[in-house]
C-alpha cells in the first residue's frame, strides 16, 4: 500500500495540478449556461441555453470580437514572416552581431507588458506620427509576437537534416527552389504553430492594448470595460467557443506534426536528432 502511494504520489499531484489548471475554464463554460438575475454573472441562478442561441446579439461585443480577429490575423501573418526570417538567419548563418541580435529578441520577452505598453504610448504620444487606434495596436502586437515566433521556428530548424538541402543543391536546384521545395515544407509545422501562437498572443493581449488602443475596442478591452457594469453572459459563450476552436486548431497541428514525424521516422538516423518538443510556449 505504502509502496503504491509512493509510486503514484507524483502522478497524483500532477493530476491535482491539472484540475487546478482546468477549473477556471470549466467555470467559464458552466456559467455560459447561467441565467443571472442581476447584471453580475457570479452566482449560479439557473440553467438556460438562451445565451447560446444568440451569442452575437450585443453589437459592441461582436464588433470588438471582429476587431480582435482581424488584428490577430494580420499580426500572425506579419510576425510569422518577420520571425521566420530571423530564425533562419540565426540557425543557418554565422555573422557578426549575433549576440546583439539574440539580446534584441530575448529582452522584449523579459520586459513586463506594462513597460512595453507604457514605452510605446510614450513614443506614439511624443512623436505624433501615428494616431492611436487599430494601426498602433497592429504595430504593438507584431512587435511582441516576433520573439515568440523566432523561438518556435528556431527549435524546428535546429532538428533539421541539412543533408536534404545539400541533396537538392547537388541535383541542380537553385537556392530559392531548394528553399521553396525542401526547406519550407519541412519547417512548415513549426511555422504553422508559430502562426497559431502569434494569433493566440494577439487575440489574448490586454495590457499592451490597454495602453495603445485609442478608441479602438478589442475583445479583452471590451471585457475590461464591461467589468464595472457587469459582464454579459454572451462573453462566457464566446470565450467557450473561442476555446473550442483553438483546441481543435491545436489538435490538428499536433496530428499534422505526428504525421510529419512518422514520415521522418522512415530515415532511422533522423530519430536521433529530432527536436524534443516544439510546443508553442
Amino acid at each position: 500500500m505504502w509502496r503504491w502511494i509512493k509510486e503514484h504520489i507524483v502522478l497524483f499531484v500532477g493530476l491535482l495540478a491539472m484540475f487546478y489548471m482546468l477549473l477556471p475554464i470549466a467555470v467559464i463554460a458552466i456559467f455560459s449556461f447561467n441565467d443571472p438575475t442581476g447584471r453580475y454573472n457570479f452566482e449560479w441562478v439557473g440553467f438556460t441555453t438562451q445565451y447560446w442561441q444568440d451569442p452575437f446579439g450585443i453589437t459592441p461585443l461582436t464588433d470588438s470580437l471582429i476587431t480582435s480577429i482581424q488584428l490577430a490575423f494580420l499580426t500572425s501573418i506579419a510576425a510569422t514572416a518577420l520571425g521566420t526570417l530571423i530564425a533562419i538567419a540565426l540557425v543557418r548563418h554565422q555573422f557578426f552581431g549575433r549576440r546583439a541580435a539574440n539580446l534584441l529578441i530575448v529582452i522584449p520577452m523579459a520586459t513586463p507588458e506594462v513597460v512595453i505598453g507604457a514605452s510605446l504610448l510614450s513614443f506614439f504620444l511624443t512623436t505624433g506620427i501615428f494616431k492611436l487606434g487599430f494601426g498602433t495596436l497592429l504595430i504593438a502586437h507584431i512587435m511582441f509576437s516576433i520573439s515568440f515566433v523566432v523561438i518556435v521556428v528556431r527549435s524546428r530548424l535546429i532538428g533539421f537534416d541539412r543533408r536534404l538541402e545539400e541533396a537538392a543543391a547537388d541535383l541542380g536546384a537553385s537556392a530559392f527552389t531548394t528553399f521553396r521545395k525542401v526547406t519550407l515544407p519541412l519547417i512548415a509545422p513549426g511555422v504553422g504553430s508559430a502562426a497559431l501562437l502569434s494569433f493566440a498572443l494577439s487575440i489574448d493581449d490586454f495590457v499592451i492594448s490597454n495602453f495603445n488602443s485609442g478608441a479602438t475596442v478589442t475583445f479583452p478591452l471590451y471585457i475590461f470595460g464591461a467589468n464595472q457594469r457587469g459582464i454579459p453572459v454572451e462573453v462566457n459563450v464566446i470565450a467557450t467557443m473561442l476555446f473550442a476552436v483553438t483546441v481543435i486548431a491545436m489538435l490538428s497541428v499536433i496530428i499534422q506534426q505526428r504525421r510529419a514525424e512518422k514520415m521522418a521516422d522512415m530515415r532511422p538516423e533522423e530519430i536521433a536528432n529530432k527536436p524534443a518538443v516544439s510546443l508553442p510556449m
Binding site: V10, L11, V13, G14, A17, M18, M21, L22, L23, P24, I25, V27, I28, F31, F42, L82, L85, I86, A89, H93, Q94, F95, R99, N102, L104, I105, I107, A110, P112, E113, V114, A118, S119, L120, S122, F123, T127, A140, I142, V150, I151, R154, S155, I158, D204, V207, F219, P220, I223, I231, N236, A239, V247, M250, I254, A276, V277, L279, P280, M281
Partner: protein
Amino acid sequence: MNTFRQRLVPYALLGPGLIWLTIFFVIPMYYMLELSLKTGSLEAGFQMTWAFSNYTDAISQYSTQFWRAFYYAGIASFFCLLIGYPLAYAIAFKAGRWKNLMLFAVVAPFFTTYLIRTVAWKTILDDSSPVVSILKTLHIVPPDGRVLATSAAVIAGLTYNFLPFMVLPLFAALERLDRRLLEAGNDLYATSPQTFWRVTLPLTMPGIVAGVLLTFIPAAGDYVNVIFLGGTSQAMIGNVIQSKYLVVNDYPDAAALSFTLLAIILVALIIYIKFAGTSALMGEEEEAH
C-alpha cells in the same frame, strides 16, 4: 563578389524583423526615458527640464507599491515552482501515453482570454461560491471574512495565470535530462530522494531559474489581478503606472516608474544571462556549429 553577397544574406534575413524591433521596442524606450525627465501637464505640454526629481519623488512616494509588487510576484513564483515542479516531473516521467494530453492541459488556459480566466477566479472566490464556504467550514477563512479583495486572492490569481510559464521550461529541462544519470545514481545505491536532490535538482536548475524569471517578471508588472481580485490596498506598481498613464495622464511620473521597474528587472536578467547565457531563455540548447 559572391562571398560578399553571401555574407549579406543573414543581414537581409534579420533586417526586417530587427528593424521592427528597433523602431518599436528600442526607440520607444528612449522616448519613455526622455518623457520621464520632463515636467509639465497634459494641457500645457511637457518640457524637458532634466527633472531627475521625477525618479526620486516617484520611487519614494510609491515604494510601498514597488515592494508589494516584488513581494506578491516572489510568493506567486514560489507557489508556481511548488506546484509546477511535481506537475512537470509527472508529465516528463510518469505520464506515459498521457504526456501530450497533460502538456495540453498546461497550455489550455492560454486558449481562454487572460481577462476571462481572471474573471473566472473572481467567480470561484466570490463570497457566495462553494469554494469560499468550504474554506469557512474549515476555518481557514473566518465566518464573516471574504477571500476577494485580499492579498491571498491576488497572489492566487497571479500564481494561476503564470503557472504555465513555470511548467514549460521545467518540463523542457526534465525531458532533456539524461536518464542514464538517474540509473547511475540508483546503481550506486542512492535512494530516490538522494538521486532527486543530488542529480535531478541540480541538473534542472537552469529550468528552475528560467521558470522563476518567466513567472516573476510578468507577475511583478501585472495590474489585472489586482483590478479583478484585489482592492486599492493591494495595489501593485503596475496599477500605479496604468492609472498614471491612462487615468490621470501624469506621463513623466508614470514613465519614471516604468523605467525604474524595467531597470530593476534588467539588472536581474543581466545577472542571469551572465551565469546561464541566452540559451535557456530561448528554450533551446546552444546549437552546434
